[in-house]
């Protein structure tokens, strides 16, 4: 049975993913629908090992999404503000 502690972890993970989903760059990808769907699918899990596995997957997706956002931003900024257009690349 899901303990109170795991309940809180799952809820805070959901809130975090939901907030992240607001900035998702591709409008065609329905982040919130997928998020809701995946959490709903696992709502009746009772085995603590399975619950832990599901939480780990959620955290993995959160980290991947964060990496996506920071890489996207860095790549955009690097293009807009290149290192230096005029320096000789070779000494």
């Amino acid at each position: 049975m899901a303990t109170r502690e795991t309940r809180l972890r799952v809820i805070s993970l959901y809130k975090e993913l939901h907030r992240l989903g607001r900035d998702y760059p591709d409008p065609a990808y329905n982040f919130h629908k997928k998020l809701r769907g995946l959490f709903e699918k696992n709502r009746n899990l009772s085995d603590p090992e399975e619950i832990e596995k599901a939480i780990k997957l959620g955290e993995y997706i959160r980290n991947e999404t964060l990496a996506l956002y920071s890489l996207r931003k860095y790549r955009h900024l690097k293009r807009m503000y290149p290192q230096d257009s005029f320096s000789d690349p070779l000494p």
Partner: protein, 268 residues
Amino acid sequence: MRPSAVRLLNILVPVKRTVDYAVKIRVNPDQKGVDLNVKHSMNPFDEIAVEEAVRLREKLKDEVKSIKVVTIGPPKAAETLRTALAIGADSGIHIEIPESAPAPEPLGVAKALRAIIEREKDGVDLVIMGKQAIDDDAGQTGQMLAGLMDWAQATFASKLVVDPKSKEAEVTREVDGGLQELKCRLPLVVTTDLRLNEPRYASLPNIMKAKKKPIQKITPADLGVDLKPILETIKVTEPPKRVGGGKVENVDQLIAKLKEAGITPVKS
């Protein structure tokens, strides 16, 4: 001989609320500005500045006494301060201007920052700020502030090492053709380059904690600073549309096209 008291660092990080980097900019029909009814967020270079201040604290621990963030903007700019507080700053100062007021210019901002620094009773040892804002790309405020304060400046920093005991900092700067290493005495203004660090994401627990951190509201009049613009924007236009390229069949055609364009061969 009495040892001198360990000097604690007071860091000030000015941040700016700008149009979000991912927004497609549209020029207004009156050609005097761009559409500002879009998503705004913290200037990416300022995010790097806040991150650097937080990393300094992680490295120097108690030697960093305070990290204060300051912004000049309409009421909504308080969100930008909250983001900075969530990344790890201690407190914020919001110099509030009306929603309808024109965007402040670098000299005005520098003068306001000078007033803030002079008001800080613990003083400010280090100002870390973005090298430029992605909306105006002026890249002047840091330099102007250092000039007004008669402080050392190290701009386009890609590496920052601070020693509070000796009140010195070693800064690696990105310059044309390579890197330059500077040794500077505090107090110092540093402006951040893209390659200084990778800002962290403000996690939800940190955002919640940040709601309790204090933000002081103040007006330019309280500081005795006039932010009226001294520059007038005459016209804003989009860059010219790219003209399509053409394909060539072989190298001879390529050489012919290059000659047409006026490119002459160089004697090797």
